[in-house]
């Protein structure tokens, strides 16, 4: 469905425990041009329902990170509106690389968002311990980022995002720099976290497989300047296990998505 208009979008297909706790996102005619004349976004329409898991797929350099920064309020569009409702300030952002504070231990890094929010020492400790347990880093909490593997650093980065119990989780190719196996495992863990906590997730990725594996809905962006050129309801049932990646419905969905991407490349 090429063109500037996004198709009408319905509520998440599957009812989940805790659904509706997440924030809602709405972008209307968003236009972002950088000094120097690069137009990154040109009339982006996007709506994300509360508790929905949406993957953003698009060619490299098309404006995905720009879009995510706009949603996070770190940047402003020249035209159009970006609305985030129901987040109550509980927004978290995970970058492609861990970007931890190297002078703080893992625990200190995970506590940072709470510290900046003025949360006291005791509750901070507790929340950090819980977040670290969720990503399986409890044993490494006293270590420094320089002493961790890439996968562990990314887990710490994820724990830092989860510690504020976000209503909206923005992830910008978070596992792209990791090896295939670690990436798959972290995908599964992220999916579990989302299923249990019901926050809204906006997940940027280059990988068709990752998008289909994780998301309820995949939104496809065109080459720069980015517009929404299509979208796909994934609707895969069941748990996210490694075996899912080899099933016929999974591969079917990936194929349909690929066709859509190629269409976006030409159109």
């Amino acid at each position: 469905m090429p063109g500037g208009e996004a198709p009408a979008h319905n509520a998440p297909v599957t009812a989940r425990q805790g659904a509706g706790e997440g924030a809602r996102v709405r972008l209307r005619g968003v236009h972002r041009k950088f000094p120097g004349g690069v137009v990154a976004l040109d009339g982006v329409e996007l709506e994300v329902a509360a508790g929905e898991f949406v993957a953003l797929l698009g060619p490299s350099g098309c404006g995905k990170s720009t879009l995510l920064r706009l949603v996070a309020g770190l940047d402003l569009p020249q035209e159009g509106t970006v609305q985030v409702t129901g987040a109550g300030g509980r927004l978290a952002y995970v970058f492609q690389d861990p970007h931890l504070l190297p002078w703080r231990s893992v625990q200190g890094n995970v506590e940072l968002p709470l510290e900046l929010a003025g949360v006291g020492r005791g509750p901070r400790r507790e929340a950090a311990a819980a977040a670290l347990a969720q990503v399986g880093l409890t044993d490494a909490r006293t270590r420094y980022p320089a002493q961790l593997s890439g996968g562990m650093r990314m887990r710490a980065s994820l724990a830092r995002a989860l510690v504020t119990d976000p209503r909206l989780l923005l992830l910008d190719e978070p596992f792209a720099a990791l090896d295939e196996l670690t990436r798959a495992r972290l995908d599964e863990e992220l999916y579990e976290l989302w299923r249990r906590r019901g926050m809204t997730v906006l997940f940027v990725t280059h990988s068709l497989g990752e998008a289909v594996f994780l998301a309820q809905r995949v939104v496809v962006l065109s080459r720069r300047p980015a517009r929404v050129v299509g979208e796909l309801q994934v609707g895969l049932a069941g748990r996210r296990e490694p075996a899912l990646r080899t099933t016929a419905p999974f591969n079917d969905t990936v194929r349909r998505l690929l066709a859509m991407l190629q269409e976006g490349e030409v159109g």
Binding site: F95, H99, W103, E115, L116, Y144, A146, T164
Partner: protein, 260 residues
């Protein structure tokens, strides 16, 4: 312990060999003592005039340390102000470069006019030459903060002070230490040069003053002793800063991490 010994051995051997060569050359060529005394004479002068020279070390050390501390505190503060906004940088930065180019010997008499004779103008002289590398390195450090981390702090609503205290200053620390290392040696040089102009000869004389007096009296062996002590003073201050840097940065910065 063994590793420390092995690290200390080569410079010690080189030092001993250099001195032996010097001693032999001076004696064989019969160089006059007022031109170039042999190391044995310098060592003897060091012992004979231990009290005077020791007092000099204390006095110069005091002034250099005061100037260095001032340069550390004010240099970092100036760096923070300069890095806070582009227009401040454009307005102020060119003038800090003047600190670097001002001829200290020429300005020292002015320091006497302002601060009188004694340790204070000497400390200020040390400050003037030591502060520039601290400012420059602090600004560089504050400017090279990871923009993603700035985004993160903004996302979590961190204000100017939280960003400064929890992000920018810690991130700038490796650069600040680099600046302080350069400043350590410069502070001693500044103090010695300051003393040339701003102290009396007498009971309470610093190493610079002593060096000047010994030179006039052609006591070249004592002059060498005073100069050697001044160098050692700079070395000690440098080593202290290096130690502080190691303790502070060893967990996280590549510059201070042990490589197996």
């Amino acid at each position: 312990m063994r590793a420390a010994l092995r690290a200390a051995l080569p410079p010690l051997v080189a030092f001993a060999a250099g001195n032996a060569l010097w001693e032999a050359a001076v004696r064989l060529l019969e160089v006059p003592i007022y031109l170039l005394p042999p190391p044995s004479r310098i060592a003897a002068a060091l012992v004979t005039h231990a009290a005077t020279l020791g007092g000099g070390v204390l006095l110069t050390g005091q002034a250099a340390l005061a100037g260095f501390a001032l340069a550390g505190v004010l240099g970092v503060a100036a760096g923070v102000v300069i890095a806070s906004a582009r227009w401040v940088e454009r307005a102020v930065y060119p003038f800090t470069v003047l600190l670097q180019t001002v001829p200290l010997v020429a300005i020292a008499p002015l320091l006497v006019v302002w601060f009188g004779y004694g340790v204070r103008p000497v400390a200020v002289a040390a400050f003037i030459v030591a502060v520039f590398p601290v400012i420059v390195n602090t600004v560089t450090g504050l400017r090279s903060v990871d923009p993603h981390l700035v985004d993160l702090f903004r996302l979590y609503g961190a204000g100017f002070w939280a960003q400064l205290g929890k992000l920018r200053l810690p991130a700038a620390l490796p650069n600040v230490f680099a600046g302080l290392k350069v400043a350590a040696g410069l502070a001693v040089i500044g103090a010695v040069v300051g003393e040339f102009v701003a102290s009396y000869a007498g009971e309470q004389a610093g190493l610079g003053m002593l060096a000047l007096t010994y030179a006039r009296e052609s006591h070249t062996d004592r002059l060498f002793a005073a100069v050697g002590l001044a160098s050692l003073l700079g070395l000690a201050l440098f080593a202290a800063v290096g130690g502080a840097a190691r303790v502070t940065l060893r967990h996280w910065h590549a510059s201070e991490q042990e490589r197996p």
